[in-house]
């Protein structure tokens, strides 16, 4: 049994390396790992960089990170799935993050979210079928003074109403 397993593993590594050889982004990622001296404790930093480069963490990418950092793939997969910030599925072209922190909630962010969900016909955490928009929620983005806040493509918008939010995403869908 052992030789078969090893073979399987070797095949996976070969496949990932071949996949990686033609893509510049893997090079950039490797430089980033080198900056951290391939230390195991830099795993989260490396995954942040990987997600920034690729948009999401696909299986081969996780295997590549595991191989380069000399970590078991289970550990890398475990960390990638533990933290909410990492996504293993491709995201839409645009993102809309509705803050559901207490201050935003008290000021009606649930209504904003409901309006967006109704219009886009997707639930939070999903992406529209045409890949235009990913709808996400945040626990608190620390913008409580301007609640309710919604982040459109990384830009925080203050004091949102259902109308304002629909107007904003109307440009995308």
């Amino acid at each position: 049994m052992v030789p078969t397993l090893l073979n399987e593993k070797q095949k996976a590594v070969d496949r990932v390396m071949q996949h990686a050889s033609g893509d510049k982004r893997f090079k950039i990622l490797e430089v980033h790992m080198k900056k951290h001296q391939f230390k195991h404790d830099a795993l989260i930093e490396v995954l942040h960089k990987a997600q920034e480069l690729f948009g999401y963490l696909e299986d081969d990418l996780l295997l590549f990170v595991a191989y380069k950092l000399k970590l078991p793939p289970s550990r890398v997969y475990g960390v990638a799935t533990f933290y909410h910030f990492f996504t293993l599925k491709p995201q839409g072209k645009h993102t809309c993050v509705v803050c559901l922190g207490t201050a935003c909630y008290v000021k009606g962010s649930a209504k904003v979210l409901a309006a967006i969900e109704e219009r886009t016909r997707i639930k939070s955490g999903e992406t529209t079928p045409d890949n235009q928009l990913s709808l996400l929620t945040a626990r608190c983005i620390g913008a409580c003074g301007i609640a309710p806040a919604v982040t459109y493509d990384g830009q925080v918008a203050p004091k949102q109403t259902p109308q304002a939010a629909l107007e904003h995403i109307g440009k995308w869908i």
Partner: protein, 549 residues
Amino acid sequence: MQLDDLNAIAEKHKSSRKKICLRSCMSAGCMSSQADVTKKNLEAEVKAQGLEADVEVRRVGCMGFCGQGPLVGVDQNGSHGLWEFVKPEDAPAIVGALKGNPCHVQRGDPNHPFFARQMHIVRANGGIVDPERIEDYIAIGGYKALHHALTEMEPAQVVEEVTKSGLRGRGGAGFPTGLKWGTVAKSPGAKKYVVCNGDEGDPGAFMDRSVLESDPHLVLEGMAIAAYAIGADQGFLYVRAEYPLAITRLQTAIKQAKQLGLLGGGIFETPFTFNVDIRIGAGAFVCGEETALMASVEGKRGTPRPRPPFPAESGLWGCPTLINNVETFANITAIVSRGGAWYAGIGTEKSKGTKVFALTGKIKNNGLIEVPMGIPLRQIVEEMGGGAPDGGKIKSVQTGGPSGGCIPAEYLDTPVDYESLTKLGSIMGSGGMVVMDDSTNMVEIAKFYMEFCMDESCGKCIPCRAGTVQMFHLLEKILSRRATARDLAKLEELCDMVKNTSLCGLGQTAPNPVISTLRFFRKEYEELLQPDPFGPRGNGEAKKQTVTT
């Protein structure tokens, strides 16, 4: 770098200052309303109106009054003014106003109780210094406390001074900081670490973000002093990924401090060495718990572990580790330069100093306030916050986030300190204060927090993983008017179980919002209950009757 060099930088920077200063808030709140464009426009307008020689436009951190933002402050002839709700197109009018022209932009009142009742230690430089220029921080006396500690104090003296100040951890639990420092200093080990907990996960709290964005050097200096006191040479700053602006400003600050030799090897030509690395969180609330945070710094899944051993004995990679909150570190420079006795003179007998609160929710004046400990809640909410907007009535104030509780309006005269809040079933927490008016349903709020804890439970221990789910379902059942008195009893039983048997702070405090709303707003729960079809005791006889009829 020596003291003379530090003074030279300060003098040089001060002499380059201009007569009039326009301070443009560039914190995350104001930035979301185009404060960056406003600042550019102001700069262009100063040039266009030929005032370059007299007017400087400075990028500053948070001024606190976030609900009225974007804010622009002005220092002219020794007096300070404030403009509120500034839009980019208001730049010509504001610059014109410096010459005495009429200006339509709304003026803020610096004597408003919102400002007048505050006392600034942690936020002293917020809205005054440019967070991306170390010279600005040095010009107001920055890094002098570090110099004082390194050259004139023994490490044990620093610990003693912090102990004398009576400072308690600002992260929520309120553990005496001096005691913690002393324990780490005494722990044997050649390698020690200092960790700054900037994983501000409590929804409704944003003071750490504001401090990191507005005054990153204050935190770095506090960490360096701590490192000297306990004998560490490496620090980690753990910041949430949700705070990108804070992360970039910290990176800039660390780079600048290293360039000037205020971080790194041989600081102030003493043998003291201190390096700081930033660790970026990845969205896990449980990482605010210290053992989970350390696992995350080590690049692992952020799950807590049982204590003891406490981090002070065995923390990062098994070495003694000091973990403090951002706000705790931000207090250190003031304590070292002005003395522990001075700090101990502020606040109440058991809670010393000041505390920053994020005043949000259904209240007129939203924003950050720093007040001395022991101030009555009513003063914060009614005088500084201006009460509920649109004629609403304040129903309760929620403190401590998902680990805290709701304080009903009739207890508003409670002084704000660690003990008084605990007595009311809430906690100080990191300082979030969410005001709720009479349109808020308390059962819904309890459900909101339970959903939060359910999602954020790391899954390591069963009481928290399974208990929060069951409690959430029970609350949902109550809210949809399908529950009976028996469900409520079950909910209370679960609260007790999860509280007493969970592994870490998240689980142990997860039932708090339910317990506290049940304590003060039990009626709201009971109004939603249905009569029990099986009779009050649920014995077999009653059941039989219901089936046959």
